[in-house]
Amino acid sequence: MTWASLVVSFVKVLVVVLFLLNMAAISVWLDRRQSAMLQDRVGPNRAVVYVGSGLVKMFLMVPAVLIAGALAVPMWTSMPGLEIARMTQAVEFAILVGWFSLLVLSSNVRRHGADNGFDEAVASLEPRSYFYGGLAVHVFAALLLQVASALSRSAPGSLSASGGVAWGTGLSGSFAAAVVLASAFYASAKVPDGKVGIRLAGTLHAVADAIKLIWKEDLRPKNADKLLYAMAPLLAMFPALVTFAVIPMGSTLCFQDVDKNHALSFVDLGHLANFADRSGFCAVGQLPVSLAVADLNVGLLYVFAIAGTGIIGAAIAGWASDNKWALLGGLRATSQMVSYEVAMGLSITGLLMVVGSVHMQEIVNWQGRHAWGIFVQPVAFFLFLAALVAETKRVPFDQPEGESEIIAGYFLEYSGMKFGLFFLGEYAEFVFSSALLVTLFFGGYHLPFVDPDGLRISFGATNLYELKLSHLAVSLLHIGAFFGKTIVMTWLQVFIRWTLPRFRYDQLMKLGWTKLLPAALINILVTGVLVLGIDGASPAVHAGLQTLADVTQALVALGGVLAVVALITGLLEPTKHKRVALSSSAGYALRAGGVKATKMGA
C-alpha cells in the first residue's frame, strides 16, 4: 500500500459519498418534479440563488478553458497508428458541442428575444432542426474519416510521410478546442450584468429543503430512549452508503509503471496507459486501479450482508420513539425486510450460476462479453426488482411508512435533520438499488460494442466496423455510461411510485413468501438445467449463442440510440398550452371589459 493508492482510495470514497448524497437529494427533487409532470401541476422548481454575473461567467469559462486545453495540447503529440481514431473523437466531440450550443442558443433566443443578427439567424431554425442536423453531421463525419483512413492505408506514404495525418490530428484537436471556447465565450457574453438568479433546473430546491431541515428544531419525545433514538438515523443511513463500495463505476484503469517500482506512485498516476487490452485486464507490468472502492471477491455477498443491517435502523427507530405507530412501523419494516431478503437472495442465484462468480467486476465483464443480465435472466430481473423495491421500502411496498395508515411509521417522531437523515438514507438506498440493478442486469458500466480497446461492431466472428479508442476515452465512456444508466434507472423507479397504490401488510407477506420465493426457486431450477445443458453442448451451439448475445447487444445499442433521440425530440417539442375550460374568472373579466389586475403582474 503506497501513499498514492491511499489517495486514490480516498478519492474513490469521496466520489461515492458525494454521488450518493447528491443523487439522494436530487432524486427527492426528481420524485416531486416527475409527479408534478404526471399529475399536471407545478412542482418544486422555484428555489433560486443569486450570484454575481462575474462568477457565472467564470463557471462557464473555466471548465471550457480546461477542456479546450486538454483537447488542443495533447493532440499535437504523436501516437502512431491512432491518428484516425483520435481525429474522429475530436471531430465528433466538436460536432456534439457545436449542435448542442446552437440548439440551446436557438431555444433561448426564441424565449427571450434576439440581441443581434447572429441570434436572429440561429433562432430562425427550430431547436429540433439543430438536433437532426447534428446527428446527420455526426454520421457524415464518421463516414468521411473512415474513407480518409481507407485512402491513407491504400496509398501509404503519400500523406503520413509528409506528416499530414499528424497535422490533421493536431488541427482537429485545436478545432474542437476552438468550438468549445467559442460556445463558452458566446454564452458568457449572454450573461446579463448584475445579479443572476441560478435555478439549475430546480434542483436547488433540494438544497433549500436540506438547509431548512438543518435549522429546524430537533424534538425528542419525552420518554424516548435517548441513545437509541439518536443512533437510529445513522444506522439507517450507514448501510446505504457503504454497500456502494463494491460497485464498479468503470472499467479497471491501467497505469504505466514509470518508475519501475512495481507499486502505484504519484508519478505513475500521471501516466495512464495509452491502450487497454481487449480482455479488459491490464498488461503485464502495468498497474491496475479498480474503479470500485473495495474490489472484494465476495462482491455481492458483501452487499447482502450489509444491506441486511438496514433493518436495524428502522427497528431501533420504531422502538426508541416511544410511539405506538412508530412501533408498528418498525415491526412492519423488520418483517418485510427480513422476508424479502430471502426472495432477493434467491432470485439473483440464477444469474450467479450463469456468470459463475459473485465478484462484481467479473459479473460486469461477463455481461460485456456475452449479453446483459436482463436478457439472460429476465424472470430474475423482475423478481429482484420487486424484492429490491420492498427492501428500499418504496411504493407499493411502503407499509412501514404508509402515511395514511400508520402516519409515518418508524420515523414518525423524528424531526429536523434526524428526519432528514432517514430521508436521505432512504433515497441513497434508492440510488444504490438503481446502481445494483444496473450492475447486475444492465451491464454495469458496459456499453454495447465498446470493448476496452475500442469500438467494435461484430456479430459472432464477423466484424462490421472497428475503431480503436484510447484507454482514457473508453474509461470516460464507461464511467459516463455507469452513472447515466444509474440515473435513468432511478428515473424509471420513480414512475413506479407515482402510479401504484400500496399493498396491505398480509398481501405483501403472501406475495413475498408464496409467489416471489417459489418463482425464484423455479428460476434456479430452470437455470441450472439450462446451464448444464449448454455446458455439454457442441461448439456450434456456443457460437450460435454468442451470435445471439451479440444480437441482444445490437438491440440494446439500437434501442438506446432511439430512446435518446426520442427523449431529446420529446424535450424539444414546442410546448402547446391548451385551455380545456371555456370559462374562468380571467375569461369572465375579459368579456366584461377588463382584466383582473393583480399585484403579481401574472
Binding site: 409527479s35 404526471l38 399529475q39 399536471d40 401541476r41 405506538k324 405507530w325 408498528l328 411504493v395 407499493p396 411502503d398 407499509q399 404508509g402 402515511e403 395514511s404 395508515e405 400508520i406 402516519i407 407515482w498 402510479t499 401504484l500 397504490p501 400500496r502 399493498f503 396491505r504 401488510y505 398480509d506 398481501q507 380545456v580 375550460a581 371555456l582 370559462s583 374562468s584 374568472s585 369572465y588
Partner: protein, 404 residues
Amino acid sequence: MEPLDIELDDGELELPNEPMQVNMGPAHPAMHGTVRMVVDLSGETITKVDVQIGYLHRGFEKMCERGTWTQVFPYVDRLNYASPMLNNVGFSLAVEKMLGVSVPERCQHYRVVLGELARICDHMVCSGAMAMELGAFTPFLWFAKARELIWDVFEEETGARVTHSFGRVGGMAQEPTANFKSMVRAAVPAVLALIADGEKLLLANRIFLDRVENVGVMSKERAIALGWTGVVLRSTGVPYDVRKVHPYLTYDRYDFDVPVGTSGDNFDRFMCRQEEIRQSARIIEQALEQMADEGSVNIDDPRIVLPPKEDVYSTIEGTIQHFKIIMEGIKVPAGECYSYTEAGNGELGFYIVSDGSGTPYRIRIRPPCFATMQGVEEMIVGGMLPDVVPTFGSVNMIGGECDH
C-alpha cells in the same frame, strides 16, 4: 451444560399479551381531521373499535334559528362541503314545500344541472381521496383537475368556486349566464375523459383491486336496518335513489339508471360512484336539452323573491318589497314539513318548523353520513388496520353534515 428440556405448558411459554390500543385521529391523515377511532389491535387485526364523531360540531341547527330563512343558505353550503350546490337545492325545495310554491321549469332544469355537476365533484373527490389514501396519488390529482373544470363553471355561474350560497327560496340568486349551456357541454366530456384516465390507473391494477375487493362488506339487511341511503346503500344492492323513487324537480323527465352493487364492499362503492358520475352526465345532457333559453328562473311572487335592483332604487313598491324581505325575512306559513333530496352521500332531509315569522323556528337536518357512520364499526372490526383506510374513505364521511 444441561439441555433445557423441562416440560412446559404452551401457555407458560407465551409472553403475556394484551391488545394494543391506538388512537386513530382526529389528527390522523386518514381521518380527515373530523373523526376519531379508538382501535384495539391484535397484531394488525382490529378486535374492537370505537368510532367517535363530533369533532366538527358547529351548532349548525341552532345557528339557523337566528336569521331569516334566506340567511340559512350559507350554512347549508357548509354541510357537505364537497357538493354545496346539492344542499342549496335541497334547502330551497324544503322551504318552497312549506310555502306551497314551485319554481319555473327553467329554474328546475337549472337546479338539476348545477346539482348534478356538484354530484360529479362529490363522487370524484371521494373516489380520488380513497385512492390517494391507498397510495395512488396520481388518479386523485387527475380527478382534482377534472373538478377544477367544473368549478370553473360554478365560478362563472355563481361567483364562488366552493361555497356558492347560490340557492334562493323561489328561484336562484342569478339567471344562468349567456353561455352556460356551451360551458357545461364543453366541460362535461373533458371531465369524463379525465375520469376514464384515472380509472385506467386503478381498475387494471391488481394491488388496488386486492385492497378494495371484499373489504368493508355490508349486507343489504344491515344497511337498511342502519338507515343507510345513497351510494353506500345502493352498493349493497338496494336500488333506492330519491331521484327515482320520489322524483323531485324534473327528475322524472330524464332517462337515467340507478347503478347498484352486489356485495356492498369498497369496490362496489367505488364503482357505483364512478357509474353515477356517468349517469349524472347523462342527466345533465338531457336537462340542458330541455332547458329553455329564455324566461325567468324566479317565481313571480313579490313576497318571496327580491325585486330587481333597478326597481329597488326607482320604485316605492320595489324599495318596500326589498326592505321587507331583507329585514323581516320571507314569511313562511306556520307548520312543519320534511323534505328530502338525493345529495352526494344519500338522502339529505330537512325537517323544518315555522311559526309564521320570517325566522325558522327549528331546522333539523337528516344527514346521510350520520346513519352511515353507525355502520362503520361493524365494517372494520375483524379486518386489518390498513383496511380502515379504504373503508372509511369509501363511505365518504363528511364532518360538516355528520356533526350537524
